[in-house]
Symmetry: none
Subunit: 182 residues, 4 copies
Amino acid sequence: MKTTLELLSEHGFHGTPISLIAQHAGVGAGTIYRYFSNKEELINELFKAIKRDIIKAMLHDYREEGTYKERFKHLWRNMLRFFMDRPKDFQFIEQYRYAPYMSNLTREESFMILSPIMMFFIESKRAKAMKDLPLYTIIALLYGPIVSLLKQHIDNNQTLTNERIDQAVEACWDAVRYRQSD
Amino acid sequence: MKTTLELLSEHGFHGTPISLIAQHAGVGAGTIYRYFSNKEELINELFKAIKRDIIKAMLHDYREEGTYKERFKHLWRNMLRFFMDRPKDFQFIEQYRYAPYMSNLTREESFMILSPIMMFFIESKRAKAMKDLPLYTIIALLYGPIVSLLKQHIDNNQTLTNERIDQAVEACWDAVRYRQSD
Amino acid sequence: MKTTLELLSEHGFHGTPISLIAQHAGVGAGTIYRYFSNKEELINELFKAIKRDIIKAMLHDYREEGTYKERFKHLWRNMLRFFMDRPKDFQFIEQYRYAPYMSNLTREESFMILSPIMMFFIESKRAKAMKDLPLYTIIALLYGPIVSLLKQHIDNNQTLTNERIDQAVEACWDAVRYRQSD
Amino acid sequence: MKTTLELLSEHGFHGTPISLIAQHAGVGAGTIYRYFSNKEELINELFKAIKRDIIKAMLHDYREEGTYKERFKHLWRNMLRFFMDRPKDFQFIEQYRYAPYMSNLTREESFMILSPIMMFFIESKRAKAMKDLPLYTIIALLYGPIVSLLKQHIDNNQTLTNERIDQAVEACWDAVRYRQSD
DNA sequence: AATGAATGAGATTTCATTCAT
DNA sequence: GATGAATGAAATCTCATTCAT
């Protein structure tokens, strides 16, 4: 799966024949089919594995104490950092997120594991720390910019300095925070 | 190109052989090669054409008068509306944006045509209507949520009502607006 | 289809890859797929074509006049001769007759074209020239020995001389003829 | 070998990988190769084993006393019954009888074991109970209809009732019996 | 200029067989 | 002796591209 990620993120789905994956992984092509029933399944499994890593990374060092803003910034930064550290994972996730061969099951499962984050949003709204926006709108306002920033960072040479990250996380908080709150 | 968009956005790159495009378009397969030197070029051209349409749509009914907030909201809404009206264009752009066969030339060109929008951002910053953020950060803060909202709308059945759009555009403005300004 | 018959009758289904058929036929492998959607269809079509030839051959020079015995012998001999002249067709038909990939449609269609022969049997029974046996029993009593004789002739070097053929057709007639009749 | 028969008669040669046989038989795939040097040999051995069973079944309850007709009918019925009881064996024998990978050795050996039956035919001819036909012709006249009737029974839903069997065996006897004899 | 039949390289996948455990 | 994971050759089939008409 590591090899698959490497090759897929760089060359795309049809630039990456199974034979190439097998060769780079140092196994026979047939061997891959003992563990994944076809190419699609291999990719779906990779997708799910990365999603699990993301959640783990977001919750890393996360503590229930602190202000909502602090907790928010922690989660947001963790996610950005995760993908900055693993640009191939990001490229892969973004490329296959809505590809036609990404099974609905995979999408749903990847949604379920997001629930701890969701809980934080719900709690923040209830505590009037965040605006009373639909959950999905909040996600869009926070995840959208992360994706865009990362694309610039990885593909466009718009390096994400600490300063830029600080500015961006503040701006994102401004987007969702309750008018009076901080 | 219309047929190409239709098929590509629905079936993806693999699911759309040239022969199918030719058949749906009511021309011979060979004919396509008189106008595009290969499949990649066809897709690149389609990409650029849509980008041009986007800019045109954003600037539709745009006027230099009015507050910065008003002008911002106009541009932002126009873009969202454009893609809501033409979901296939959105799906296509998002799917092929960073595909390995998308030539750098195409990316650059598509960037250039964004310049009128850039101008507005620069001006807004100078006038202290917007925070003094790097241009790219602003783009990420505004375009990112649009993409996310549209994906939810199109793929996840999270319909974009007028209310949700109003809330989102306000939140986006909060993200970039200068603290005191409106 | 001629090449397919040649190779298939000699080397069997999996001794005959499409690539070999293409090469022997002097066409590209892909070309075969323009005319047959897969290997199975190619074989089914071949099967049906041969069946049509058999019926044509059986009815060759057949006339409604003459005694039932004479007419019977004519049909029986024609079928035997047909396969003696085209041993590959025989080998093919016998090999694929009940293969799992022989579609039911093909079987049914091949049955329909047998109807003129059936008519003769029905008429013979009514005229008390043949025993009053179920139609299928009559077919078994006449077609069965033909198959066995041909297998011996083709595979076992038991050459079918005119004498052997004459003896066999007489014996077959004895099997089905009405006791008193001739 | 029991499992092999089961799977092979139902799914055919391609549809039956060694791995499937091993799994259904509850042994490791490698184990099969300790007893048979390859897939072909496994099938050849199965073929020979069934042939031995057929002969045993034909001679079951066979007695040298009684008229030739009675003895003939006994042998003929036994064979038909054997295959009616074990349709998989029939399907297998008929499917692989002339397959290209059926070794000549197997064919010859399977022929040898037929000798007791041959003896009966030779004796019957000498006693003017049967027509003086070549041995192979007699076999064709008797075995051919058996095969055809069984195919109808098994594949075409033309059930072999006792009545149909009685009619058929009488007709077969008519085919080979000496004109005056009974 | 338009066509679409032909091509064959290359992709995915299967499976008989081996061999270290 | 039994196992079954690993293998990679080979099979089927697809499709971007060419080129004679």
